[in-house]
């Protein structure tokens, strides 16, 4: 799959050797979690359990337990997004990729429990899960890439409180196939859609849904407690749900 993941850990100064060793172990654990998720869910590897499931070679019951759990959550995301996120409408068989990237990153973040880590951010190719703060009194600030000019930032969001995950989906991402579940064909009504909330897996699925649905996607995000969305149109216009966490200027 080749997803580039970066993990930033923020600790105080004067880390004892034992603490540093513990952090190294947790980093290795987080790497293993990401690797394991890739091995199970990669649709690029023909022998992965999900690839074999898609090909009809195995059933869900025969796949690793995580597959059933992920598909259950995908079903919930499909409900919440009113069908705009639908892994079962993807060509080639059920494809939970739009949920899995965020889910895996959120799991990897959970590997960091050492008290010396006061802030952490896992960034899986633009899907970000975080906890804590980078410095006392300063919440995490995340730039949202401008789809029209990728070296520029369109907006800056603040990740704080219960809103510590953000996912962005857009047609400008390489290899990102946004399929409209209703037509079965590639489609996107906005250049980019960002969703914030407590869980990156769900944010990832909802961002995928909103990128396809466009402005009407804001309507199914509003009632979802804790989740907010921002869309950037092909004309550069921004629209957002009421409480999208823009960073204060």
């Amino acid at each position: 799959m080749g997803t580039v993941v970066t993990i930033d850990l923020y600790t105080g100064p004067n880390l004892a050797a034992a603490e540093a060793a513990g952090v190294r172990r947790e980093l290795a654990r987080a790497s293993a979690i990401l690797q394991n998720a890739d091995e199970i869910f990669s649709t690029w590897q023909p022998r992965s359990p999900v690839s074999r499931l898609r090909a009809g070679n195995i059933t869900i019951a025969q796949a690793p337990a995580q597959v059933a759990g992920v598909l259950e959550r995908c079903a919930a995301a499909r409900e919440l997004s009113r069908g705009w996120f639908d892994p079962w409408a993807m060509p080639g068989g059920v494809d939970p990729t739009g949920y899995v990237k965020g889910w895996a990153a959120q799991l990897a973040l959970a590997a960091f429990t050492a008290p010396c880590v006061t802030g952490a951010m896992v960034n899986a190719a633009g899907d970000i899960a975080s906890f804590g703060v980078p410095a006392p009194g300063q919440p995490f600030r995340v730039g949202i890439a401008d789809p029209a000019a990728p070296r520029r930032l369109a907006e800056i969001a603040e990740l704080t409180g219960l809103t510590q995950a953000i996912a962005t989906s857009g047609t400008y991402e390489r290899g990102d196939h946004l399929i409209d579940p209703h037509s079965g064909r590639p489609a996107a009504r906005v250049a980019s859609a960002s969703v914030t909330g407590p869980d990156l897996g769900l944010a990832d699925a909802l961002a995928t849904a909103v990128a396809v649905a466009g402005e009407t996607g804001l309507a199914f995000i509003e009632p979802i407690h804790g989740y907010e969305a921002l869309i950037i149109g092909f004309d550069g216009r921004r629209r957002w749900t009421q409480r999208f966490p823009f960073a204060p200027p």
């Binding site: 080749g2 600790t11 890739d38 730039g143 070296r151 962005t168 390489r174």
Partner: protein, 164 residues
């Protein structure tokens, strides 16, 4: 004044693990985390070719008696196919800090369209490191322009610099 936290960053490319520091820790130096798994071939569509990474080194200017980690070193990864030809990724590091990631070489057979690749192929590490330093942000959401070939060449360059 921005207090410099101790930041440990890890880059995981596919199944291979690479440890890269975003900010050099004041009292701590961590050895690289071993690769999380075997390196795999990138997904279909690219076929890496060309020579292994070359390293050039230059000492940090104006300083004497610096620890070895302050030497600025660069490496170029193997050439990989992309849409219009062959490109390679160049990485510049100082100690355990990645300073810059960019296009090392580009051979597009004279195809004019590929001149825009510099805008399109945004190296994600450069994007994060440089923009984060300028806009007081800790990450960027969206804009994942990394092609599989780019990752492979980047991996080769980092490997040549001992980041694995």
């Amino acid at each position: 004044m921005r207090r410099a936290p101790i930041v440990i960053g890890a880059t995981i490319l596919g199944l291979a693990g690479v440890l890269a520091f975003h900010t050099r820790p004041a009292q701590l130096s961590l050895p690289a985390v071993p690769a999380a798994g075997a390196t795999r071939r990138p997904a279909s569509g690219t076929s890496p070719s060309g020579t292994a990474g070359r390293i050039s080194a230059s000492p940090a200017p104006g300083k004497t008696g610096q620890p070895a980690g302050d030497t600025t070193r660069s490496a170029t990864g193997p050439g990989v196919n992309y849409s219009y030809g062959v490109m390679s990724v160049k990485v510049t590091v100082s100690g355990r800090k990645i300073l810059k990631v960019g296009i090392g070489s580009l051979d597009d057979g004279g195809n004019l369209r590929s001149e825009s690749i510099d805008q399109q192929a945004i190296p994600i590490l450069e994007h994060e490191v440089l923009q984060a330093q300028s806009a007081n942000i800790q990450g960027v959401s969206g804009a994942s322009f990394i092609s599989t070939g780019f990752e492979h060449s980047l991996q080769g360059a980092l490997h040549a610099l001992g980041f694995q």
